[in-house]
């Protein structure tokens, strides 16, 4: 069995701090850092979210893969950012590094523009930790 991404306890704690400060404190419902195999690496929420994160990660990995295949068809390497808008809740996907995705679930209290800015900042900080 191969283990291509290994995180130490300290790395996970540092990533959690970043996600808490940049996103949860901003008002997002929950964040999931996951790999493209569908594994959940870090999951934080605001205490009110009750999502099935493992199923969400499995579907998100599939979704991201499918959209990347669509990107290839039109001559793009990938679409590094995806956004699904719901009536109350929305999901934002962003690539962190090769093989890692950050999923953010947020409601109408958070503006998409501000969220994108904060996600970009969080990703920049996470990249220095891994």
């Amino acid at each position: 069995m191969d283990f291509t991404i290994d995180f130490t306890k300290e790395q996970i704690e540092s990533i959690e701090d970043v996600l808490q400060q940049e996103l949860i404190d901003l008002g997002v419902q929950s964040v999931i850092l996951m790999d493209l195999a569908g594994n959940v690496i870090v999951n934080l929420d605001n205490g009110h979210a009750n999502h099935d994160v493992f199923s969400l990660a499995a579907l998100a990995a599939g979704n991201y893969g499918a959209v990347s295949a669509m990107a290839n068809i039109i001559g793009e390497q990938e679409f590094s950012l995806l956004f699904h808008k719901g009536e109350k809740e929305s999901i934002h996907f962003s690539k962190v590094v090769e093989d890692l995705l950050l999923l953010t679930i947020f409601n109408r209290d958070v503006s998409l523009g501000f969220l994108r800015l904060k996600v970009a900042e969080a990703i920049k900080r996470i990249q220095t930790l891994i």
């Binding site: 069995m1 191969d2 283990f3 291509t4 991404i5 290994d6 995180f7 130490t8 306890k9 996970i12 704690e13 790999d35 493209l36 195999a37 569908g38 594994n39 959940v40 690496i41 099935d52 493992f54 199923s55 499995a58 579907l59 990995a61 599939g62 893969g65 499918a66 295949a69």
Partner: protein, 201 residues
């Protein structure tokens, strides 16, 4: 790749049920979902097309307890079996730790089994994995059809066609009745998890 979370002391292991279309992969997971309901905290996720065929995958998370102080989360997936869905099959194989190959015992499906196994080998190679090195269990499904007078392949024929070089553990099974479904799953979990033990301190 199995993912170890040292903070939560949790390991996530990905097991994929592979095989030709309409071979019984989803039926395996549905049986497991019913039989082991108490251990399964979340609903089984399934992405189907019109006509009840698996479009993307089925997904069933499953807790098997602890090894060396780490809780082990098994994640069972199926792939869509139809030939045209190869791109999605390949996506599901990303990061796979163990595979159950569900072969269809029906006489008519002999060629389909062989093609699907070849397809598995090629798709694993796309992720630089070798079918000979990955934990693998063979399941010869639909043995119950013999009782209805439908011609089925003998175990010897299936072994010769599919498993003569791989030499993987194999089970004759009936997913619809539940025969050897749990045994197949336990075997692949045992094979996959045994390599974890060394890694966990």
């Amino acid at each position: 790749m199995a993912l170890i979370n040292p903070k939560k002391r949790e390991v996530q292991v990905k097991i994929v049920y592979y095989g030709p279309g309409r071979g019984g992969k989803t039926t395996n997971l549905e049986y497991i979902n019913r039989k082991f309901k108490k251990r399964i905290l979340n609903e089984m996720v399934t992405v189907k097309t019109y006509g009840d065929r698996t479009l993307f995958f089925d997904f069933l998370p499953f807790d098997i307890g602890e090894i060396k102080g780490h809780s082990i989360k098994i994640q069972l997936y199926t792939v869509p079996g139809q030939v045209k869905y190869n791109a999605t099959r390949r996506l599901v194989l990303r990061g796979v730790d163990g595979i159950v190959f569900v072969a269809d015992s029906m006489d008519l499906r002999r060629e389909m089994n062989i093609r699907s196994l070849q397809n598995l080998k090629e798709n694993l190679e796309a992720f630089s994995k070798n079918i000979f090195n990955i934990p693998l269990v063979m399941q010869y499904n639909k043995r119950d059809l013999a009782d209805e007078g439908i011609p089925i392949l003998s175990e010897e024929t299936l072994q010769k066609d599919l498993n003569s070089r791989l030499n993987a553990p194999y089970f004759p099974a009936s997913a619809i009745r539940g025969d050897n479904v749990a045994a197949t799953m336990k075997k692949i979990i045992a094979l996959t998890v045994s390599s974890l033990r060394k890694k966990l301190q």
